[in-house]
Structure formats: structure tokens, C-alpha cells
Symmetry: C2
């Protein structure tokens, strides 16, 4: 028999149950939070025509799109994110607006795999299409906040800024409209490379020393928080785009207070730029300090993207939670209870001719909503108990010939290391509270 080389592609992962149970739990909590805000689930294909995706992500992004020709010679691409496919659907179909949808799904990028960066990874997006009000921005910021709270996060900061304010700052510094996208793409790197490096890069791109000095002075750390907003209001008096941006940020803050979002988790940050070209208004991202892993969510308003498909602009805003980083942090901080198995009970098989009894008991438990696994090999009981131990299945049932005759079973609590005889007809009622306590 030809043995095949056993490997998977770099940047892709197998998730065995031990990892995937946790992953699924996180996805469910995020989905439930999104639905709590009235976001509806939606799906788009993994494959799109390449031209649908091209030209949306900037030069570097475009290079990372997985593209190939299918058997019909069509140029096909794997989904790079969930936002551009959303924009396409919003141009293709009529939906009642304001339209809320979420999508939790894999995306693919032909990136260099490294720690925490994968070629196949999941995004969790919630967007509102068809509202130009910053109320919508507040809603998507809040849904992200509650998703993190529901996952058990407390120490995180949602940094908020506004592209209109940034434009105002850039204008104030003498940067032209045409130069702005390039300008902000460099500013966006400050977190990673530091402000000195940013200044150098801007100078390399021929921004004047005065422009650089004036703009960055208004964006650096000292200008965070609400006092910074007041200072900017004064400094940028007369620059209407800046004043508009500031007004939007202030209204978002009021909305977030009404939505019960803790002030301590929110921070105006004049230096936040977000890399993507298509943002047009409020922008935001969520930062974790411990462990330092960068942003675990990001988003903003993109009022022109849908227009690239439909020909006329439709306002939209959204947030994207990064599942991989969220799970990395939760694992590092041991934030999730270990759920090593979905099985709540293992029904062992005492002897070949008693297997039918084991099946009947398993079937009764299952009808009562208890997750019951039946051991399907004719192995020694000791081996079966070892199996339950290794898998951390909390309860084990044994039915020998004596038990069968008396209409009883042996119920073993593997953690407490105790066992008891339980009449068959009392078994479900006996087990139910035990498995609820171990909670799934």
C-alpha cells in the first residue's frame, strides 16, 4: 500500500475536538451577542469572481488574494474578507434598510505564515447598511463591547477616532486630499514601528517637515481622552471636517453611555488611523494590554464601498472581531473552562451479550437530553474506565448481569471516585442535576 506523506499546508490548521469545542463555544457566544442586537446571520460563497475582490484592499492586500482559474477558465478567488462580499450582496439584492447582518466564517490570505498569522482564519463581522447616522456606529461598537464582556474580557480598550477628524488634522498640516490615503497608511503603522519610524517614512515620501510636525503633534499619545478632544476643538476651529469628526465622536460617546458601555473601556485616540483605504467616518479598534497582541477587533464606517458595486453610494458601518487572536488571548489567560469532551456519560459494555442493555440505557439518557456515549468495543472494563478517565468523561455507567436482573445500573462519578447502585427508572433524574452542574 502506498503510504502518503502526512502533512497539511503551512498556515492552515487541524482542530481536534479538544481545541474545537472551545472554538465553537467562542463562536456561539459571539453569534448570540450579535443576534441580541438584531444582527441576522448571512452567508456568501467562499469563491467569488476574482474581479469582485480585486482593487478593494490596496496593493498589498490584492497581492494576498488566493486566485486561480477554474475548469471553465474563469478567474476565481477565495474570499479575502467578509466586507467586500457584503458590499456585493448589498448591490445585488433588495433588503429592508437599515439592514443588520453578521457573518462568522473563514477567509483566506496567501500571507507569510507566522505566529498568530494564518492562511485560513475566521472573522466575525457585524455590519449595519443603510444608515448614515453615527447611531449605527455606536451600535456596532457596543455589540463588539458586549461580545468581549460575554466572553469574559474586562481589561480591554476600544479606541475610537474619526477619519473626518484625521482629514482635518491632515489639512491643518498642509497634506492634500490626494496624499491623504498614503499619509494615513503610514500613520497606521505607529503602533507597530513607533512614531520616530513613522516620521522617517513620511519624510521619505516627501511630506514636509512642518506637515509631519504639526499633524503628529495633534495625534500622539498625550492627546488621548476627552481633554484632548477639547484641545483639538480649539486648535482646529474653522476646519469644518475636523469639527464634524469631533461632533461624531462626542455623539458616539453619548450613545455608548446610553447603551451601558463602561466609560473606562472607551478611549478617544487621535492617533488611530486603521490601514484600510475605504473608511470614511468613525473608526475603532479593540486593544488588549495583557498579553500584548495588537487589536482583537477593528472596524469603521465605509460609505463608498457599496457604491463600487452599485454605482451609487450606500452608507454602512461595521466591526470585525478576529477569532484567532481572541482565542489565543483566552487560552493564554485561561479564561475558558476546559470542556475536554461533549460526552457527559460513558455507558460501558460489560459483556458481548449485554451490549443491548448498554444501548438501551444510552438511548434513555439521550432521549432526556443527556449526551451519552456508548463504548463500542468488546474491551476489558478496566480499559473502558481508562478511556473515560483519559477523555475526562465525568460519569460512567456499568450494567453487569446482576444489575440487569435487578433492573439497576452502577453509576460511577469519575471525579469524586464514588459509585452507587441506581434503579433504571431513577437514572435520568439522578444524572440530570449532575450533568447540569458540570455545565456545557
Amino acid at each position: 500500500m502506498n503510504k502518503i506523506t502526512l502533512q497539511i499546508l503551512k498556515g492552515t490548521r487541524d482542530f481536534l475536538p479538544l481545541q474545537y469545542i472551545l472554538r465553537k463555544r467562542v463562536i456561539e457566544i459571539i453569534a448570540r451577542t450579535f443576534e441580541g442586537f438584531g444582527f441576522e446571520p448571512m452567508e456568501t460563497p467562499s469563491m467569488e469572481y476574482a474581479e469582485t475582490l480585486e482593487g478593494k484592499y490596496g496593493e498589498e492586500g490584492d497581492r494576498l488574494i488566493y486566485k486561480f482559474e477554474d475548469r471553465g477558465g474563469r478567474k476565481v478567488a477565495l474570499r479575502y474578507d467578509l466586507t467586500v462580499p457584503l458590499a456585493r450582496t448589498m448591490a445585488m439584492y433588495h433588503v429592508e434598510k437599515p439592514f443588520r447582518r453578521y457573518q462568522i466564517a473563514p477567509v483566506w490570505r496567501a500571507d507569510k505564515p507566522q505566529k498568530g498569522r494564518f492562511r485560513e482564519f475566521w472573522q466575525c463581522d457585524a455590519d449595519i447598511v443603510g444608515s448614515k447616522e453615527v447611531w449605527a456606529d455606536a451600535e456596532v461598537i457596543a455589540v463588539g463591547y458586549y461580545a468581549f464582556k460575554n466572553l469574559g474580557f474586562n481589561d480591554f480598550t476600544i479606541r475610537i477616532n474619526d477619519r473626518k477628524l484625521l482629514n482635518g488634522i491632515a489639512l491643518y498640516g498642509g497634506v492634500t486630499e490626494k496624499e491623504m490615503a498614503g499619509f494615513f497608511r503610514i500613520i497606521d503603522k505607529a503602533d507597530k514601528v513607533g512614531w520616530d519610524e513613522v516620521k522617517k517614512e513620511l519624510a521619505d515620501k516627501n511630506f514636509s517637515a512642518e506637515s509631519i510636525e504639526k499633524t503628529i503633534a495633534l495625534m500622539v499619545d498625550e492627546t488621548q481622552g476627552n481633554r484632548a478632544i477639547q484641545r483639538l476643538k480649539t486648535t482646529l476651529k474653522g476646519i469644518s471636517s475636523a469639527q464634524e469628526g469631533i461632533a461624531e465622536i462626542e455623539e458616539i460617546q453619548r450613545c455608548l453611555a446610553n447603551l451601558g458601555v463602561d466609560k473606562r473601556n472607551i478611549l478617544f485616540d487621535g492617533s488611530l488611523a486603521r490601514g484600510l483605504d475605504y473608511y470614511t467616518g468613525p473608526i475603532f479598534e479593540t486593544i488588549i494590554e495583557k498579553p500584548r497582541i495588537g487589536s482583537i477587533s477593528g472596524g469603521g464606517r465605509f460609505d463608498s464601498l457599496i457604491g463600487m458595486f452599485s454605482g451609487n453610494d450606500v452608507p454602512a458601518t461595521g466591526t470585525s472581531l478576529g477569532l484567532e487572536r481572541i482565542i489565543t488571548v483566552m487560552e493564554e489567560l485561561a479564561m475558558l473552562p476546559m470542556t475536554p469532551t461533549v460526552s457527559q456519560v460513558l455507558v460501558t459494555v460489560f459483556a458481548r451479550d449485554l451490549f443491548g442493555e448498554s444501548l438501551s440505557v444510552a438511548s434513555e439518557l439521550r432521549s432526556a437530553g443527556i449526551c451519552a456515549e456508548v463504548y463500542v468495543n468488546d474491551d476489558k472494563l478496566k480499559k473502558q474506565l481508562d478511556y473515560a478517565n483519559k477523555k475526562s468523561i465525568p460519569l460512567v455507567i456499568i450494567i453487569g448481569p446482576d444489575e440487569k436482573e435487578k433492573g439497576e445500573v452502577v453509576l460511577k462519578d469519575m471525579e469524586q471516585k464514588i459509585q452507587a447502585m441506581v434503579p433504571r427508572q431513577e437514572l435520568v433524574n439522578k444524572i440530570k442535576p449532575m450533568v447540569v452542574a458540570s455545565s456545557r
Copy 2:
């Protein structure tokens, strides 16, 4: 602005919320049923090395694998099914056995798209690895049965046969071991093309008239059910593989009875062959008569597939539920309650300066686990009520200046077309039973 052609690839689909809510519900019911039997969730990458998938699906299957070269020049393929990736993982990692896993995920086939056949579609697989006992086959058959019951199906038939019995029948008819795979691939078409066509095709492939007559006489419709088993037992006396197959089928039937599976949903069918080459023992599929759509699940024992990766055989058996056909049937039979939206309440905005009130009310409802959407445009109230009607959101809340002052809200039941004033502090308790009744 360049307008892009708006289209998606043939054989792929967008699922807007109206469709996707239903789809998600079906997936959840199947997942919950699988977990009830102790199957653990697991995931493998969408992309695999092409050589991992090649040579497992027969010539025709291999042709339908999506293959391309990635930027590193690696030959890459999109997952064609969930069974071969499972076999790869079972050879790559150590897991406690008997190992139960399920996976509900998309697969891709470069097939000709037609009604009910897609290039991207979902499979729901449950498998047990590491048990040679037919107990395991009975468990995977039963988990499929309960999944269909939990989805609301009643009129379906699980047809069961055994490759060992088929081998015995073929031997009895003079078909050699070498010819068998080809023989069964033709037999498998009987459902689609009829027995006359099958006979003709077998004759074309040089099977003797006597072989064809003798084998098909033992497989056709008249030989279904338990009396057929008894006849085959006698006719094939002395052919050990046939007797083994019959014994397996009988033991599976006993196990299914213990598992509470209704006898009327189970049928021995000597003509069932299943197309895939890799089956080695019991095989089964689920048929719906109304509407006639073919099989909605299929599976069987594949004791040699993992050996293609690991070098030594590991017994395994599993079932695969076809999500697309299941949903097609459920839609045609109107089996699922329409859930047009996840939103249980729409909180309207009475006026711009009262929006904060609307947000506070929405936030209170959400904290109580109620899915509350807040309307995020400054539109006339009539337009907001129209929106709720079009989306079938059952409850609407209005907070005008009077209500704000009195600490009350207007609660409208959109279906009953009634409304009432409700004090803010009683709102959650008032709404909770109403949304539970409309059930999600």
C-alpha cells in the same frame, strides 16, 4: 466610478438572512443530535495538499476536485468531502479510541451545476474510528435516524446492506474479486437508470449473462425486508462472506431496536451498493419518497481508508447527511416554522433628541436576553412601523416625550394589532413571556 459586473459563480449561492436563519437552525439540530451521541466537533482545513485527496474518490471523483497551484508552487486542492481529511488526521495524530467526531462544513466539487447540485455545498458527517464491531455501525445509523426525527421527518427509509453480502452474491454469480469494484459501481446506478439499463451496462463490460441473471435476481426489489434475508441465508449457504454480511445486518437490526429506532424506518435492501470504492462492510442510506429526491444521507464502513495514510488499517464507519437536500425537502414540505428575523423587538426612535432613550430601553431588553433591534435612522414613525411589518418583527416599542416623562413606553403587538402603555420597570417582565411564545 467603475461599476463592477454583479454576479456570483454558478453552483455557489448567497444566503440572505431569510434563508440562512433556517439553514443555521437545521445545522444546530443536527449538531445537537450528534453531540447527544457523544460525537465531538472537529475541523480540518478547507485546503489540503492535492495528493492527500487524489486517488480516493475513483476516476470520476478525482476529476471533480478543485485543484490549483498556490504562490509557492504547491499543488493545492479544496476539500472534496469530510471523510478523506478525517482519515488523514487519524493517521497524523493520536486520539483515544473508539473515537467519535462530527464535522459540519462546506466541500467543493467542480461538478456541472444543476438543480440541487452545487459546487459549494455542506456535508454533516459523524464517524466512529477504532471499532470493528457493527455496534459502531448501528450507532452511526441511529444518530442519523434521530437527526431526521429531530428535524421533523417521519416518512423516511434507512436502507441497509452489507458489502460482504454483496461480495458473496457476486461470488455466487461468478464475478471475480478483481471485477467487483467495477461491478458494484454499475449496480449502484440501478436507482437512477433502472435494472434493465444496469443489465445492459454489465453486459457491455463483459460480465456473463449467467452472472448478471444470478446476481441481480438476488438483489432486486422482491428481495427486500427480513424474509429476503432468510431466503439469502439459504441460497448462499456455504459462501462465508455472504453469511458474515447477513449476520452483521441482523446484529445491526437488533442494536437499532435497543436504540429505540422504529422498525418501520429500517429496511434491508439487497440491491443497495453505494458508489464509493472504499466501503468494506455495512452500508446504508436514507431515502425520502415524497418528494422523490434521492438519498438524504449515506454512509458505511471503510476499514481500509485510514490505512492509505497510516500504512496499517484502522477500522472506521460513518454517516454523511446532505444538508442541501435536507433543506430542499424541508422547504418543499414546509416543515420548518418560518423565522423571518432574529429580532424580537424593534425599538423605534421618536425624535432625534429622544434617541438616547431608545438606546437605553434596547440595552435593558438585551441585558435580559431579549433580541432587540434599535432603528438607527431618523425616519418618520410610519416608516419605522412599515419596516417592522416587512421584516415581521413581532413587537415594537415607541418612546415619545410624554412616555419619557411618565417613565413609560408604548408596546405594540404587530400581529395582534394592539398596543399598551407599559411602565419602564415592568417592560422586561411583560415582554419575556411574549417572545418566548414566539420561540426561537
